[in-house]
Symmetry: C2
Subunit: 106 residues, 2 copies
Amino acid sequence: MADVFKALADPTRRTILDELTDRNGQTLFEICARLSMKHNLNSSRQAISQHLDVLESAQLVQTRREGRYKYHYINTKPLEPVIERWLRPAEPEEPSDPATAREEEP
Amino acid sequence: MADVFKALADPTRRTILDELTDRNGQTLFEICARLSMKHNLNSSRQAISQHLDVLESAQLVQTRREGRYKYHYINTKPLEPVIERWLRPAEPEEPSDPATAREEEP
DNA sequence: ACGATATGCAAGCGATTGCTTGCGTGTCAA
DNA sequence: TTGACACGCAAGCAATCGCTTGCATATCGT
């Protein structure tokens, strides 16, 4: 689970996920080209490849080999527990504005 | 928005959010003590203070001053757009298993 | 077989991160 | 006022990160 947050910490990796959301199943070169075109990100092939390795280690990207091509698919499953961890249990608590909240002294 | 992911990338900061979820509105020393007790995290006061600064910059923690005490409150609002970014738009797409999916050649 | 294509592996480098150390500031009780 | 308490600021350091560079492997078309 820690890998998921570390993977999402980099803006280039988040843009890669955006790209795979827009068009799933791209190859490495395809991702490089579209990152340069649509997102003005001129990172090298090796840089993107390493980013994809990080995303794959975090299970956020799954891959499928076919000959010399390697297709990359986004996988949003690791994101679901991220939400449940803090979003759900904290919702029915006290008001979100600290100026109006009150607690006993420590 | 980048600050949110960077803030969540550290395991100690995630544990701090867990602690604030369990008991909202704690002071710095209170957080230090409970991290040591319940989570076996023996970080120094300054280390935790810097972590809280990061969380506050990311708007994940709001603070309220009262005399020499500073109370910390979790704020889950920055987490909501995180979900919508990839979870929602990618759901009605093709099968998540890359072995069965298919795309045209690049 | 040969070259072109698509990707993998690994060492090295500057920048950033998380933490420590030491001192400073403001607040409260006696 | 004095001392204890809660917290802030900033320099320094080892570890990690993102990226480059260079070479290697594997697959396809001709």
